[in-house]
């Protein structure tokens, strides 16, 4: 009888991630203390928020009843700038990032070239597009040309890194067999590497096209042209219905780009 009574009737789920009980308690206390400290630094002006709610409501109405017509010339100009900027910067960025990516593949080039190319990639990836845009706008003046340069620069880091990682993971047997025919380095790239990485490179370029459009909407805020500039102006003028229209256009184009690029990538691979 006693053994039956001792049999546990309840079961507690064992902890999954932090197994030690003391660590768990310490973590919970630490998180609690941090949250108290962090939330205490956020001083919210509630009367301002309350005032703003009415404005928020107007914005929501503007989003539901967007006004495409009254600022259509501005919107269409921003849109053309954004789209052209996206395409040209992706093309130029990919063209530059192919040699950089090959140079950053450990299995193809000598060490010195490898470090230089990895350095270029690291610099391009470390800084945000918006910060680069600030500098390029200061150097090249306002307008889509600065935006084009920003996006090309950001594209180099993205494509070159993923391409280099992809080249490092190729099937060595194929490269070996091309080498065994006495092929030169250029022939090796052309016949062993390129066929293996080309589908992925095209896929990455399409993906980057998609990202570049999204980013082109952002860098306009700091003066690099495109639809972001139009959006910034609309919000500064408190024209929430025009801003809603711009946002809807951005969402629509991003959706179309995402679906068509994922379809194309499936078709190509």
């Amino acid at each position: 009888m006693s053994s039956v009574a001792a049999y546990p009737t309840t079961w507690r789920r064992p902890p999954q991630i932090v197994k030690d009980r003391r660590w768990r308690i310490a973590l919970q206390i630490g998180i609690f203390v941090y949250l108290v400290l962090a939330i205490s630094t956020v001083d919210v002006n509630w009367s301002r928020v309350y005032e703003g709610l009415e404005r928020g409501q107007r914005f929501a109405m503007g989003f539901l009843q967007p006004d495409f017509t009254s600022r259509w010339t501005d919107i269409s100009r921003g849109l053309i700038e954004s789209l052209t900027m996206t395409l040209t910067s992706t093309v130029v960025g990919v063209i530059i990032s192919v040699p950089v990516g090959i140079g950053a593949a450990r299995n193809l080039v000598p060490r010195s070239v490898y470090y230089v190319c990895r350095g270029i990639i690291a610099v391009s990836r470390a800084l945000q597009e918006v910060i680069i845009a600030i500098f390029l706008v200061a150097m090249f003046g306002f307008g889509p040309f600065a935006g084009f340069l920003t996006l090309s620069f950001a594209t180099i880091g993205f494509i070159a890194k993923l391409l280099a990682d992809d080249i490092e993971e190729i099937d060595e047997a194929q490269a070996e067999s091309i080498r065994a025919t006495g092929a030169s380095w250029v022939q090796l790239i052309n016949y062993a590497i390129q066929p293996q990485v080309m589908p992925r490179l095209i896929g990455l370029s399409l993906y980057r096209l998609d990202i570049n459009f999204r980013e082109s909407a952002v860098i306009g805020i700091v003066g690099a042209g495109g639809i972001g500039a139009t959006l910034n102006t609309a919000i500064d003028r408190y024209e929430y219905d025009s801003a809603g229209a711009v946002l809807l256009i951005i969402i629509l184009i991003v959706m179309v780009a995402e679906y068509s690029s994922s379809y194309l990538r499936k078709f190509l691979q």
Binding site: Y34, T41, V49, L53, A126, L127, Q128, A138, F145, L247
Partner: protein, 270 residues
């Protein structure tokens, strides 16, 4: 002594027809590029572009040496930035969990209404950058940390929601069935069948997003949403380039550190 004809033929990767199509494709791309380039540079002032190297040298000259005495002033904004990212991530994750459960095919309460709605929320949140969210929120609820936190949270919903709902859809159906076979209610199935399976993915995604949010919150101040970006904006407006250098180096250090922390944490979890 006649040579066999086909030996002398040069091997080619593709048939002539395919090659023709490929050349047409490349030609179309080049034409499109040239056309876009002309449209884009219609209003470009080439005078400014040609002037750029001189400008770059000028700015570069003003940026060094960095004004290190500015560093102590930056600690409070840096703390704010980290708080924006962390609190924003927490808020975003809290909102993303129900959205993810509504969007996953195997847990959604209704395929026809709630699932498309959840997917729309995810797409909207993903396609609008946090800087644009911040721009809107600063106009609506006023400048300050709250706008930044809400912007980061709204932006995180899409990212976390998308990855989490994919994780939910990949759960092992047999484990869920086993829980169901014990006579568990819907909530119990969720709690004992699905949640333990997605827990590692959940923490991994959250930490990953936190890392991205640190990166993004450093620039939110440019539109008035608090943090170190405010200082950056102030320094840029007063053309204090030596302070800009200090801020950029600090941002870089923070980003690298947060990347390291998130990589370590994800390694520990998964």
């Amino acid at each position: 002594m006649t040579e066999i004809a086909h030996y002398s033929e040069v091997w080619r990767h593709r048939t002539p027809r395919k090659r023709l199509f490929m050349w047409m494709g490349w030609l179309a791309l080049v034409a499109l590029f040239v056309w876009c380039w002309q449209l884009m540079t219609e209003n470009t002032m080439w005078y400014f572009v040609l002037d750029a190297p001189r400008q770059a040298a000028d700015i570069g000259g003003r940026m060094v040496p960095p004004r290190w005495s500015y560093l102590p002033e930056l600690m409070q904004p840096l703390w704010d930035t980290i708080n924006i990212a962390t609190l924003g991530t927490i808020g975003g994750v809290i909102m993303a969990v129900p959205v993810a459960f509504m969007a996953a095919r195997n847990t959604t309460p209704s395929q026809t209404i709630l699932r498309p709605m959840a997917l729309f929320i995810i797409v909207t949140s993903r396609s609008i950058n946090s800087l644009i969210w911040a721009l809107l929120l600063v106009a609506i609820i006023g400048p300050g940390l709250l706008a930044g936190i809400v912007a980061i949270a709204l932006r995180s919903i899409g990212f976390v929601g998308k990855l989490l709902y994919e994780a939910i859809e990949e759960t092992d159906a047999r484990q869920i069935e086993a829980i169901e076979a014990t006579g568990a209610s819907g909530a119990q199935v969720l709690s004992y069948g699905i949640v333990p399976q997605i827990m590692p993915a959940f923490w991994g995604i959250s930490v990953f997003r936190w890392d991205i949010n640190i990166r993004e919150s450093t620039i939110l101040g440019l539109v008035g949403a608090g943090g170190i970006g405010l200082k950056l904006q102030a320094s840029l407006n007063t053309l204090a380039w030596s302070q800009v250098t200090v801020i950029l180096l600090l941002i870089l250090a923070t980003v690298v550190l947060s990347e390291w922390v998130s990589a370590r944490m994800r390694q520990a979890i998964i």
